[in-house]
Subunit: 390 residues, 4 copies
């Protein structure tokens, strides 16, 4: 009568690890799912810090060798929260070992790695092994609802996608050279870190693919102090020595979609005053939606089929129990926060794993986003439009 249990092993315990922990901790408390999760093992490199993190974040055990986890029967899921440079190696091995994999975005730092991961995911699928890439913003209720509206034809033919992801945490030239600013670890800068989210979301929301892009990438501050301590997106300098910033501070691109829509994408860490302004405006022949994550409980919807005298963008507070995911939470107007997007992600992942269906976004979806980002880099380097590989 009791539910099957899913043992989770999470690798990495920095920013993403903290928020994943809260999501794993909460998911069965709010959602009635076919399986119950156990926060079985927290895995990392530094034993001391790891023990402390496991205690704080509430994991039963710790481990420093992720490969050993793949042999344990009490581990069903590998949750990859490490920087992008290690995603491929871990994910491929885990899938081959028959572990379901939830992998943070971006899927990988290189296209080759992403392709290998997707191939591994495809092979594993045949053995009932599931995989998903963690584009958590798909699980913002307002965006999940936006997708419904668009799928229901409420926006009509899509004409424009205007997407931005604006932050300002490195505007200060004395902000240190953290790992997110080093290409060998992070793969790219604003492009892969935040541009990946809007590339994914835009395509997800309008259910269409970006086919070609023209792009511009810029690094405004090219030399920074070496990093000392860091946590989340904050950090302190480690001394007087400096190093080269090897990723983009900002990446802009124009896009064409397969269905005829056009788009503008802006990812930057230099939009002074913007903290986590991930937003989209989508214009269709019958209506428009607009969203900004800093006001994540709101979706703006303009219904162009109304009498023009009465039409206007309406602020839907996406906290009704009929909105996606909301029946699990609080009464209308009692708003949700950032971490809930991860709880929703775990909800969908657990349900998919427990019921034997493939969760989305799949590794193939993650690969497709990587291909968009790759086309952006090529276009920026070569100064011309670049088609996105299919």
């Amino acid at each position: 009568m009791s539910k099957p249990r899913l043992g989770i092993a999470m690798i990495g315990y920095a920013f993403m690890g903290r928020v994943h922990s809260q999501a794993w901790r909460s998911v069965n408390r709010f959602f009635d799912l076919p399986a119950e999760v156990d926060k079985t093992v927290l895995c990392g490199r530094s034993e001391v810090a790891l023990k402390e993190a496991a205690a704080t974040l509430g994991w039963a055990e710790t481990a420093t060798d992720w490969r050993a986890l793949l042999e344990r029967d009490d581990i069903d899921v590998i949750d990859i929260c490490t920087p992008g440079s290690s995603h491929a190696e871990i994910a491929v091995a885990a899938l081959e070992a028959g572990k379901h994999v939830l992998c943070e975005k971006p899927l990988a730092n290189t296209l080759a790695e992403a392709e290998a991961m997707t191939a591994a995911a495809d092979a594993a699928r045949g053995r009932g092994v599931r995989s998903m890439v963690g584009f958590n913003y798909r699980r913002v209720p307002a965006l999940a609802f936006a997708r419904q509206l668009i799928a229901d034809g409420r926006l009509g033919t899509i004409r424009h996608v205007r997407a931005h992801y604006l932050q300002d945490w490195i505007v200060d030239p004395d902000f240190p050279l953290v790992w997110r600013l080093r290409k060998e670890v992070a793969g790219s800068g604003a492009l892969g870190d935040i541009g990946a989210h809007i590339a994914d979301l835009a395509q997800y929301l309008v259910d269409d693919h970006i086919t070609e892009v023209t792009a511009l990438m810029e690094t405004f501050v090219r030399e920074r102090p070496l990093a000392g301590e860091s946590s989340g997106l904050s950090a302190s300098a480690g001394g007087a020595a400096t190093g080269e910033v090897t990723v983009d501070d900002a990446a802009l691109f124009l896009a064409r979609f397969g269905g005829g829509a056009i788009g503008t994408f802006e990812a930057t860490r230099f939009a002074t005053g913007r903290k986590n302004a991930m937003g989209l405006e989508i214009n269709g022949a019958r209506g428009s939606i607009a969203f900004d994550f800093e006001s994540m409980n709101e979706l703006w919807f303009h219904d162009h089929t109304l009498d023009p005298a009465e039409a206007g963008a309406r602020r839907i507070l996406v906290t009704e129990e009929t909105h996606p995911y909301l029946a699990a939470w609080w009464p209308p107007g009692h708003v949700l926060g950032y971490e809930h997007t991860f709880t929703h992600e775990m909800r969908d992942f657990v349900e998919a794993v427990a019921t034997g269906v493939d969760p989305r976004p799949s590794f193939a979806d993650g690969l497709q986003v990587q291909r968009v980002l790759d086309a952006v880099e090529t276009s920026a380097a070569e100064g011309r439009w670049q088609a996105v590989e299919r």
Copy 2:
């Protein structure tokens, strides 16, 4: 074939005189009306300043004796832009002389004066002489449209009226004792100057009367430097001498309406950071509207009959040609400003006069507002609910 002409004589040329001048100047240029106005005479006390004002504001002649104007055949309309203390004398005489009267609000400084003016207006009506009180905010297109929505039943039974008029121009205790802060000239402070507008608008929008009130009036700064020069709402001190502020800085009241709605009214000149925040939110069983003059081209409308998942306050940009007054102006989104409310007022006044119908708000409407304000003063003085005289 040419249109009849209406000769206007305007008394007073301060803030209200300037904006009325622009409205008289513009009204026939944008609206196709049955009469054409002439800015015939500007009337005031100080001959030198008057000549300069007439040249600047574009009036054909000047006069220092308003009584003499009443005998001139080329004057059809007396436009009263003086402080409230002189409204009754001028208006009554003008009406008796057969001149149409447009009188700035508040109608008068005392109830007795307002009653005399209303009686004069009633008597004059029989002789085809028209009168109107200048509650210009009724002619904000967004509010005129709000009234239509409410009249059409789109809000259902009205439950709440939440009205505020917030300014901050006298927050500084060194701001001088201008005429608007002296009871003998202004009648009252925030109450009559700005509270009158929201008392009028609230009743106008919901087409109902306030029947009783409980109120609070406060003067935060009771002594101020005597005034030197002033214009509009700005002024400079005239020296070291001070005088007593004899009007209210803020007036708050709760109200009951005849139809069962309840209301909150806030008029203050001490809402730091608010410049001309005249706003209303009206909640009914089927919907709500909200408005704030600082964003005067927007009306927010919540249609509660929609599916809750899709409902939300929508921002209607009231610049469509089907919106009240808008066919005369610019394409959608090319917004209007404060002065246009007066051009619309003159439009309605000229049309009423030329076609022989009574314009609204009538002097009786102005008197009714005075009665509300009087009940507020009584309630505040006596510390209990006070019925509004009918």
Copy 3:
């Protein structure tokens, strides 16, 4: 070396019980506190539902007799999440038994009960037993930060407090007669449920007391279908029978504060389109703040000491690590939600208990709010200003 543990017994597991559970679950995961909490016992009346709730919400044990809990050594804290009618009995007994008490607001349904609870809290304090009333909105980071700004003198002398708490969940006359609409259980309607929050917050933010009020209370829909199932603020009708609504649908009052400020308070469940719009605007001589819970991560601050050409209400996204409570959470712009206010409440409560200081808001604070509400009811009934008992 391990931390002391606090055993929690929570009574009630409806809306408040669910959110308290999440807060108890999370508090040690994000805050480094001198004690660790155990979710030891969930207590309620219906054994079956209770077991299910305990499993869902993650409590170790269940109990149906709250009195028995008072004798257990492994229970340190009684967390009261029941309707107001049972608060006094439980809280007084718990305090007498030496248990720390966290009691949901309103403190009690009657002044006499609130006084008895406060007396019990005062007596218990001498024995090192702590008590706190759960006005969670004090722990909205934006409001905690607003209090800092005001305490630092950034607003100068306070002139106005404009507070509202607007909901619309019972606008539909067919919404059933849930317990919150029955005086014998809920004590009052909008007044005690939501008006209590703004009465507390207003006084807390400006650090002053309301001394007198004039009020209006209204019940728009006086008869409703009897209730069937309900959860949170949603419910379904239980059949054709109807019953009388014995509480207020809306309560409005004007107030005077000891320090000279004036205030407007509006609590209603009939503000169509408003879901949980708990907001305050506070105007002082040097600046203003504004807040609305539906955008709970934002505080608007107008600094009136700036050059007027540059001044304006600024939207502070209260997600910086230097903001109250925020160092525990996510990077800037990664917003928090409703439930976090409870996690912060538990954080402050646990710290106070573990370090032997009295947490705020105390039962005396809760009693003072009840006295304000009592004055409101008296004023509304008698049609005159009513002083608040000290």
Copy 4:
């Protein structure tokens, strides 16, 4: 002692002619200028419509031959409000005839024409003949103030310019083929009509030049009914026949500025729900500004030099008397509208002409914008970055 007079002849009396008329009518009434304007002649092709327009718009005379005007001594200024295809011919002739010229934007439909006009303006300058192109949005007080802030270094090094001009008046595929949709008259579509404004404004605000662009242009609806009657931006179809749309519905481009900033520009007539959303966000190392014309009285300014806990975009209501142009108008909070931008334009033009200085934007400024637009068209056609000619 009386002021010199400037005789104005305006050519064209459609949308632009109407708003120019109101500006000429108002400019001396609000601004104390060294010359007084006369609305001497209205010039157009259709005699009947012209007479009616002159009466409505308040011009003293009419004329159907603009060349004849160039010989009249009582005409000092030629104000060109015709479609772009006739700008060059009229402007060059007028300048050669010694008439000051105010020419609506875009300066011309082709680069060759714009170059000829600029050459004529340069030649005329030596003879004391002035010329200006009518980018009215430079005279939005909020934008003039933004330029001051940026010039004063308040934004520091500029990093990003995010500009958009969004309309929706041709979303309906049945909207007819008006002149603005025909290349031979309009030159281009969204690009020249509205994109020109943001290209000009962006460069004006940051006082820098766009040096290269990569662009995308799209026509979503390629066939439309032939046009019947039209006015402003509204029109009705003239029958069943259709014709080809020969201009762009939307034009997007990325840009690099000489000083290192990067930019995004979006001009579209298909942003459903946006009426006249001309907006810019500019991010610098020390701060940011944001603006949208639909709320034209507001400028958002984020001062990044403040303590992060207190920083945030502040809404400056640009209606203080110390703001550009505002001393002439109403008290704070009494907002301005679209037409005032033209009154300000005429103010600056008249002052420049009367005092013998060159007004800005000059024809050279207009030409530079044309060069940007030309680079956009080339880039869009050739699928690569295109440098802007200097």
